[in-house]
């Protein structure tokens, strides 16, 4: 379901972009992976996956976070007994949740996270969440969303998690700005300072650091989108009366200026004041890119689909660092979320949606890019084939948004090239 939303347009619609749609093996994580960062961001929440041993193993392996002896996530592993009778499965789930809540009394919000097997056996976690919420409120609110691989890719897990919170956001008519998408705490703080200096406020972040103190939303709320993968959440917020401030994503100096600039425009900040606040940090960010430009300018880039951040990152590496784009892969293309970004992509590139990994690798080998951004399963094999790679998951788990992180993002991408030129083995 796509809600019509008003997008602010500064320029005429760009020429329709050619999109290569493919269907084959998708070498992409499922939405459960989002738990890896969400469980750290939301300090009072617990994520309980209702799934199989595969789900537990996926999160453990993909995240490699065994450092956290007892993390704020876990898996209720379905066994043969649960498959035999759904009534029993519900009883079992109640038992596991009771066990969990008594063990972790600090939990204020419990997310029941659906998985492929729970979807296929049609275990109604929505109902279960209502039932358990009724029992555990006011101490614990139980929410539900799906992170299943049959319905979500990698970062859509965050979208679904935020979406499950939207019905519980209080209403407000007050004029406010809401930044949508999980950001590293350090970046949230940077943006807060920036909005303060610009005189924009009050500013809410979704998600905040606690799942139990939810920001309000309503007709006076302007949405500024920090992450490109929260389309369903944005549509639900729009249905609550909020309005999207269209902008490219705050990736790179240019992206951050455009993003903050769009907020200034929506809030009537004068150009003079905007420039007074932004020009210093913007100039510093641009300056910090220079030494990476030496490594990246003129080099060709191939991005395999992974996190939905491919398009903004490609735009940044192309426009601010002079890289040539061969192919930009994205798991799916949500035009509402990507419109301002697509307008900034150069002509003549291949934008591919979905994936047939074998065919895509055939194209990659034919094109011989100087740098490939891809998942962990492919990086070492491609390196062994002579391709410089950057694993894409690092772009999700590293603070890359905003002015101060623009050079960090460039550095992450330039490092494989620097390293190759340094090594003599």
């Amino acid at each position: 379901m796509v809600m019509p939303i008003a997008l602010e347009r500064e320029s005429a619609a760009p020429a329709p972009l050619k999109v290569l749609r493919e269907r084959g093996q998708h070498e992409v994580f499922c939405g459960l992976t989002g738990i890896v960062w969400l469980h750290r961001k939301l300090q009072d929440a617990f994520f309980l996956v209702v799934g199989s041993r595969t789900c537990a193993h996926l999160i453990q392996s993909a995240a490699g976070v065994m450092i956290f002896a007892e993390p704020r996530f876990g898996t209720a592993i379905l066994t043969e007994r649960d498959l035999a009778g759904l009534a029993d499965a519900n009883e079992e789930l109640d038992r596991v949740v009771t066990q969990l809540v008594s063990r972790r009394p600090e939990i204020k919000t419990l997310f029941l996270v659906g998985s492929c097997p729970s979807e296929v056996i049609k275990l109604d976690l929505g109902k279960a969440a209502e039932r358990l919420s009724a029992r555990l409120m006011p101490d614990v609110r139980v929410l539900n969303y799906s992170g299943s691989g049959i319905e979500t890719t990698f970062t859509q897990g965050e979208d679904n998690a935020l979406l499950s919170m939207v019905p519980f956001l209080p209403g407000t008519d007050a004029r406010q700005l809401m930044v949508v998408g999980c950001l590293a705490d350090v970046i949230e703080d940077q943006f807060r300072r920036m909005f303060n200096a610009l005189g924009i406020g009050p500013v809410q972040f979704l998600p905040g650091r606690r799942a139990s103190s939810l920001p309000a939303v309503g007709p006076g709320t302007d949405l500024l989108l920090a992450q490109p993968f929260n389309g369903a959440t944005v549509r639900a917020l729009v249905a609550r009366g909020a309005r999207v401030v269209a902008a490219p994503y705050p990736i790179g100096a240019e992206g951050t200026s455009a993003w903050l600039g769009a907020a200034c425009k929506a809030w009537g900040v004068s150009d003079a004041h905007r420039d007074a606040v932004l020009s210093g940090p913007a100039e510093r960010a641009t300056r910090s890119l220079a030494r990476h430009r030496a490594w990246l300018a003129g080099k060709s880039l191939f991005l395999l689909p992974d996190s939905q951040l491919e398009i903004p990152i490609a735009r940044f590496l192309n426009r601010e660092l002079g890289m040539e784009l061969i192919e930009v892969g994205t798991p799916y293309l949500d035009r509402m979320m990507m419109e301002p970004e697509l307008a900034l992509l150069p002509e003549g590139i291949t934008l591919s949606e979905g994936q047939d990994v074998e065919r895509q690798l055939d194209r990659l080998r034919a094109a011989r890019p100087d740098l490939t951004i891809c998942g962990l399963g492919l990086a070492n094999p491609l390196e062994a084939d002579g391709f410089a790679t950057k694993w894409s998951i690092e772009l999700v788990f590293t603070p890359i948004h905003g002015y101060e992180q623009a050079a960090d993002l460039a550095d992450v991408c330039a490092r494989p090239l620097r390293r190759r030129s340094q090594l003599t083995v």
């Binding site: 595969t54 537990a56 392996s61 995240a63 956290f68 691989g149 492919l378």
Partner: protein
């Protein structure tokens, strides 16, 4: 439903992937949703594979459900054959696909491909990774040898021929163990017919019955295959896994007997305790007998891992190192009986569990001075401030070292000696710490002097720089990192504060070095409780010390 935080084993299809990835000319089509492709990174990252595992995933989506998925699976098998041209195809399902009941294995077999297609039933909702590996190996070998079942035993040869069964991709140190076992066999004049599945081809499977017996190197994976080869071809298999000095000697004797060769070329040089002779094979026995190692005597050790490595570790700990085994357990339920037997011989009760929290509790209760475990136990030990060495899967990238590092054979015995001793405090250092408690550099947070210091406050001798943790720390928002550290510090503090202790008693307790303080504290409290002493004084502390001995 089972509440799980960390898992010791992956699902059975990951076991099947390990078999497929071990082989050189096998391709595995896995009927599975998007997301299950994560399993590729186990191979490419943990074991740094320079090629993709030979696995095609059908990656069906919700919109394919209700009819389309079976067709998708069939197409995937056909396309994978065309693209990869393997000599054998495995077709299996992950958990979700199992629920769809598309039976891709059967579909694959009806395609009329010119190579064997082996359909796997992996029972995702009741079985686990090692079972999946053993089942896959068994089905594959059976299928390849189905038409050889009646071939007579091979004619006697001058050089005995054996197969090595069990080493796999992502197995603990399998890469180097094969080399070590191969060396032993060569010294005995025994020729290796095939190593299966690691590095094997389908043709190697066909030749398995050419050998006169099998080395069942990793029973978790190879036992069902070894048993079937015995039934079908009358091939005996070995019972001893050559991990540790004594087990290696037993292994050599067993293999020599099965092959009808003289074990003396290998064992003849072995005179336990005589430095210059045993050094020709292994330094470990002499190192264990050298006076420097006396401080190892009676060290309390907790062992947990897969059955093969846990059993081996228990034997080494008692026979070679002189440790006291205070805990022994495994997550391999299939071999629970062996582990229970071994534990009862040691006078303890085995812990058979795949519940990480239960293991953590058991370690905390046992209060060991050294933990030999998996990556899970490494984290538990770290939290509890106990030194630890990793002896078994699940493992991390740092458990796949660049250097030659077997755990089997005579060199394996050297490697184990070093890696178990390394996390511990050295003998004389331990004494100095005890004598000069007031030295400002001997505070509780001071690490063993041969280990790098860190700023982190924890009573922990395992202060080795940990690349895995650094990666993770870098990958987390900054605020997240301090939380577990704070929790560990808090826990350490809690351990210190004890009810019933008089201030003098507690001061005296603190003079005991941290690595034995936990034990002293527990013993004293037990002593006090048993005698109804409500206030623990300095006297009580020394009474308890005298009562319990060391």
């Amino acid at each position: 439903m089972q509440l799980t935080i960390w898992t010791y084993e992956g699902p059975p299809h990951v076991g099947a992937m390990r078999i497929a990835s071990s082989m050189r000319d096998v391709h595995f089509v896995l009927h599975a949703p998007q997301g299950d492709t994560y399993a590729d990174l186990l191979f490419t990252m943990i074991e740094r594979y320079d090629h993709r595992p030979p696995v095609t995933y059908t990656t069906f989506q919700a919109r394919d459900l209700g009819g389309e998925t079976a067709g998708l699976a069939k197409r995937a098998v056909a396309e994978a054959y065309t693209r990869f041209q393997p000599n054998l195809m495995l077709v299996g399902e992950s958990c979700t696909a199992e629920l769809l009941q598309d039976q891709p294995g059967t579909l694959g077999m009806t395609l009329g491909l010119p190579v064997p297609v082996v359909g796997l039933e992996l029972n995702s909702f009741s079985k686990k990774e090692n079972w999946g590996a053993s089942e896959t190996l068994y089905q594959m070998v059976r299928s390849v040898l189905s038409d050889r079942a009646c071939v007579p035993a091979p004619a006697p040869r001058k050089t005995p021929l054996v197969n090595i069964l069990g080493p796999t991709a992502l197995g603990f140190r399998c890469r180097d163990d094969i080399v070590e076992v191969d060396r032993l066999l060569a010294q005995l004049g025994i020729e290796v017919n095939a190593v299966v599945p690691l590095g094997a081809t389908v043709e190697d499977l066909r030749r398995l019955p050419d050998a006169s017996f099998n080395i069942d190197l990793y029973p978790e994976v190879s036992r069902p295959t070894s048993q079937w080869l015995q039934r079908a071809f009358g091939m005996p298999y070995t019972q001893t896994v050559p991990i540790g000095m004594n087990a290696t000697r037993d292994f050599v004797a067993e293999v020599a007997q099965l092959a009808g060769v003289d074990p003396r070329p290998v064992l003849g040089d072995e005179h336990p305790g005589v430095a210059r002779l045993s050094a020709s094979q292994s330094r470990a026995p002499w190192y264990a007998r050298s006076v420097d190692s006396t401080y190892l005597t009676g060290k309390r050790v907790f062992i947990f891992g897969d059955a093969t490595h846990a059993l081996a570790a228990a034997r080494i700990a008692t026979e070679t190192m002189g440790f006291e085994v205070v805990g022994l357990g495994t997550y391999s339920r299939e071999r629970a009986r062996d582990v229970r037997d071994a534990a009862s011989r040691l006078g303890i009760e085995a812990l058979v569990s795949d519940d990480y929290l239960e293991v953590e509790q058991a370690i905390g209760a046992a209060g060991p001075e050294l933990v030999l475990g998996t990556q899970m136990e490494r984290h538990i030990a770290k939290r509890l401030g106990i030194p630890c060495a990793v002896i078994s899967t699940p493992m991390h990238v740092q458990d796949v070292p660049a250097r030659y590092s077997p755990v089997m054979g005579f060199e394996g015995a050297n490697v184990l000696f070093d890696s178990w001793v390394q996390p511990l405090m050295m003998g004389l250092e331990e004494h100095l710490l005890q004598m000069f408690r007031d030295d400002f550099e001997f505070h509780d947070d001071a690490p063993a002097s041969h280990l790098p210091a860190t700023g982190r406050p924890a009573a922990n001798a395992e202060r080795v720089a940990d690349p895995a943790d650094e990666t993770v720390a870098a990958a987390q928002p900054p605020a997240a990192v301090s939380a577990p550290v704070a929790a560990a510090a808090e826990q350490a503090a809690k351990q210190e504060i004890a009810a019933g202790w008089t201030p003098e008693g507690e001061r005296e307790l603190r003079k005991i070095p941290f690595f034995v303080r936990g034990k002293a504290k527990r013993n004293t409290e037990r002593f006090a409780a048993e005698r109804g002493v409500s206030a623990i004084t300095v006297e009580t502390l020394y009474e308890a010390k005298a009562h319990f001995g060391r």
